[in-house]
Symmetry: C3
Subunit: 468 residues, 3 copies
């Protein structure tokens, strides 16, 4: 059996030999830089406990909807993979995964997996077949039991300098505090303020959440006044625990502010469960504006990623819940939606407002023009479904002509899959090297300048944009 | 005169020598495989009669709106090309075509034409000029009179294993039956159930069509009940005559079901000619849902291709009718529209639901995410205006990162131009070889695996997806 | 210090050596052809006066919102750059520009600037740094004082054969007349009829403008009748002064005509300031239809470029006014909007209707299909934010498969930056050479044919489409 391309030093680099040579040299400037991960979905308790990972399936498959989604499309039951808390036989799930590993050929997940197996676990991904499934499972189980493969040891090996988590506004952030106070742990693990569960009236848990929020953090105030005050207080609590950003997964990019009276009336309706869809979206848009307003005072970076139809399959949602692979993007617009917010706050260079999208059409049409004018706006890295090699190249090709390189958020891994972090960041570094190498080979950029640019993109941009 | 590039063994392959070498080797695995054509617009009677084609113009120009459209844009009257049943002087139309052959440079139609002339007729496309028009016309006329150029002989030479036609629900399918019962004809020619003319209240012929449908196939039932029953019956009739799929050219991707009472009320309005545009679209969306529901029982593959403004030029429609080149795409969305249908039926792996689009923006944003989750959904090949080399590459680059290769429909030629079929399929094979070769050269896929993938894409995918 | 890539003969050409060799040869056919600029924003009085340019900042920075926008995104105050008539210290603005010149790396503006400095002023763009700012400023000031750098001398050096300006309907076109009557000036400087300020009821100046228009050019008629008559008269006045086209920057692509009574009622509302947004857009759409109707009689080419949210930042607009870099595109559709207009006039080959877009999604979805059918429709060159190397390549790759090369408008520089004109046109020539070279290398087009195509694209297309 040939050794997998995941070991090849030129993997993911452009094929043309002249461009590839330049790309290799550019990659060398950044391949070993530490990892800055300003947005993701890991559980910080993992580093507090520092326990060995339970088994290969629980570590690598069940929690990663990027992977289970693909198996599901091939007819595999999500329950058999341990999704959504369903019990599965880990070894059986592993056999399914290995026997269908060919499904990942050409996918972003496939590249990450291959590199992860090759580089983190030292297992040639060519061995991921039905025949070898048990053998590889046992090998992995042995590896995971070793001290070197506990979360903290891996963080050190990965060069994980900064890792942001995504947290509920009422989280006590005890894990973050414990990690910050532990001198033996050198990675910075920062919370991110994610208030979505408190702004969406169209979710059944809205009323309970909001009541709990106001009661516990509203300084005794009630209604909309208490609600805003609680948000401000919890943002400050997050800042006190190291947070530098808030994250907002809104339905759309609307940002029209409401008067206090209008907002109070809508909030009342939402708490009674009486709000229409349009009213719920109006309230959500108002809150997008209000969070930007709060950021003028407290300085939290604001990231926005609208445009996803959550829980598209009703039957899957009933059986497995949210975040299991059936969120589907829809077409998005930013220009009109964000106009109120940007007219009020867009000119403030201390306000950092990162726009993510999964609708690629907005790259050249809206995001690059916005980021190329407003000192507050940054173009977020391609994310989720378009966090893959060709789409990353399309992002660069669609935004650079308008904004250059200075308005980029830095790479975002956005992952629940801890061991894929190095592969994801390495992929991004290879793509940037390949893109810049093309510009150099086309006499559009000197190689010296390209070397500066790639270091800036990989290392300085996320630090600067996320105020790290 | 130099020999046309249509004879070059590397035509349409990538320019970079390393990539091209790999592409050549991958192409060799599939170039001679039989042709599977699961969707197109040929008349099956052609194979029953097996008559010589009348003349070059009637064979190659008048019925092919891909060609006449381009000439029309240059100011040629469609009547002079014999479009829409208008009489023309075939030799005069041919002269126009040859004198303007330069218009096709760079177009998909141009590549097909060049390859068709070179490979099917042995005529160097470089000779298609005003000066040679008469000479080539006479040569072609002589060629078409030969027994080797009758429809059946060409089917054998083309390696046409399966060809699906597109048929009216009330068609008696006599031609299909005759072909199936003829042991001397080895291609499978299958009907496709296309009920559009019976679901669009905004078309003037709706009432007559529906009345005829219910009367002839409704089992004596009336109204909406009879209408549904007639649809079920005719689907079964098609299945009995070899059909494996139904095809739906809807306005949009709406699929919200109506109650029987609502549907009955709308049907009544539609039959009276009183339905508003919104009501007509609501009924059409309901029927998209109902056809999917029927497919759960009878197993027909369902293909959907919304998003075309039909008969855009009122004056052309009045003079030439439908399908003559003035259908224009508009922007499309699938995520919200298909949610009801997919929530009900999307999880059924035996239901095969192929989504076509002419709005490329949906490739990465909606179609790949849907096909990458739902076991029923397949990403349809790029079609119509985007059935060309660069767009096919964009399709691959936009969908592979999310779905890999397993959710692909297989290539669709969708053609009325019989002799272009080999060129269209060959183009697709060259594009796939070129795309996969790039992945191999970028160390993203091993060449061994790429060879498996290309055989699967070209041969196994259409058989699997269309249940052939 | 190395010499900038702006001097390299292969700058902006494809990297692959085989493709690059072909591109070089194709470029040689067009690199020295005269410049045809059928749409732009220069002041014709510049050529009448033929005064030396005042200083480097006033010539190169303050009026060019492509440049100031990028500096603003980095936190620079527009006032400090002399934008919007604000006084600035030219040398200070120049220092800011040089110290931040790295922001332009990879941008379209950056490529133009580099080539402009290298080729027009003989200044190596590598010298544009904070350290050299004063030295370069002084050099440039000296250069600009030379007779060779006055507007007319530059026009000759640039090979500027045709230059269209953009003019108010009530402009007396005295400058154009003076230039036309001056035998010592050989460039053709033509006016373009741009009536936007008289069709947008949502602009505060609408009522005054329309009143002035009717009073001065309505032949004594009043109301809508006088309004249309005044438009006809002023179009004819423009034609008499050399105009060949009218230009329309509409909000969207709506073109539904109103009855005279409906239009009169809306016009009355608009003049009173009572029109709703929807009414204002209905009136604007009606006028798009009416201008096309007028073009059937007077033969003016009609160019349309909808889809820009003008003056997005309220605070910037209040301080600096319009056209200073905060216009942001939004998503656009043409198919439904233009159907009324095209159904009436689309089949007329003497009507030339050029569709521009900044929403790339319309290239393959709408513009290429429309231009590939209607004899009146031409695909406008990529423009504004997408007037850059990679986007131009995407335009070609998205439209050629459907329409070939015959429906292209020719390159449009659309600039306010006089000295960037050669660089902009040269960039376009290099992109076309690179694109066509790829087709040749992929055996899709013979090199002989590609040589004809590139000459047609660069030279014949704009002459033909703009009736020059």
């Amino acid at each position: 059996m040939t050794r997998s391309h995941a070991y090849h030093p030129d993997r993911l680099l452009p094929a043309e030999p002249g461009v590839r040579d330049i790309a290799r040299r550019l990659l060398a400037h950044v391949e070993d830089l530490p990892i800055i991960s300003p947005h993701g979905h890991l559980d910080p308790a993992m580093f507090v406990d520092d326990e060995p990972f339970p088994d290969p399936t629980a570590l690598l498959i069940s929690p990663d909807h990027y992977l289970t989604r693909v198996l599901h499309s091939a007819g595999v039951e999500l329950a058999d993979l341990g999704v959504g808390g369903h019990d599965c036989v880990p070894r059986e799930a592993w056999r399914i995964f290995c026997s269908r590993f060919d499904l990942y050929a050409g996918t972003a997940s496939g590249y990450w997996l291959e590199q992860e197996f090759a580089q983190v676990f030292g297992i040639d991904p060519e061995r991921l077949t039905a025949d070898n499934a048990d053998e590889v499972y046992d090998e992995l189980a042995t590896i995971l039991a070793q001290p070197d493969f506990r979360p903290r040891a891996l963080a050190e090996r990965f060069g994980l300098e900064v890792l942001a988590t995504t947290d509920d506004p009422l989280d006590d952030l005890a894990a973050h505090r414990a990690l910050a106070e532990d001198p033996s742990f050198t990675s910075r693990v920062l919370p991110t303020f994610r208030p979505d569960a408190y702004t969406k009236m169209y979710k059944p848990e809205f009323a309970d959440n909001v009541t709990r929020l106001i009661d516990s953090a509203g300084d005794g105030k009630s209604g909309y006044e208490g609600y805003l005050q609680a948000m401000r207080n919890r943002r400050q609590y997050f800042i006190d625990h190291g947070a530098t950003s808030s994250d907002h997964g809104t339905h759309d990019a609307g940002s029209t502010p409401l008067s206090d009276a209008e907002a109070q009336a809508l909030l009342d309706k939402g708490l009674r469960g009486d709000a229409t869809r349009a009213e719920a979206l109006a309230f959500e848009a108002n809150m997008t504006y209000r969070f930007a307003e709060m950021a003028q005072d407290d300085g939290l970076v604001m990231t926005l990623h609208p445009g996803v139809y959550r829980n598209h399959s009703t039957s899957t949602f009933q059986k497995y819940g949210a975040d299991v692979g059936h969120d589907i993007p829809f077409r998005m617009e930013y220009t009109e939606g964000l106009q109120p917010l940007l007219s009020s706050f867009g000119e403030n260079p201390d306000f950092h407002f990162v726009l993510f999208t999964i609708d690629e059409t907005t790259f050249s049409r809206e995001i690059a023009p916005l980021a190329g004018y407003y000192p507050s706006v940054y173009a977020g890295a391609p994310w989720w479904f378009i966090d893959e090699i060709d789409a990353m190249n399309r992002f660069r090709a669609a935004t650079t002509g308008t904004t250059g390189f200075s308005r980029y958020s830095g790479f975002i891994d956005d992952t629940r899959a801890y061991c894929s972090i190095p592969a994801r960041h390495n992929t991004s570094r290879r793509v940037e090297a390949g893109y810049l190498a093309r510009l150099v080979a086309e006499h559009r950029l000197s190689e010296e300048r390209a070397a500066d640019v790639i270091v800036d993109l990989i290392d300085a941009s996320p630090r600067r944009v996320f105020k790290l």
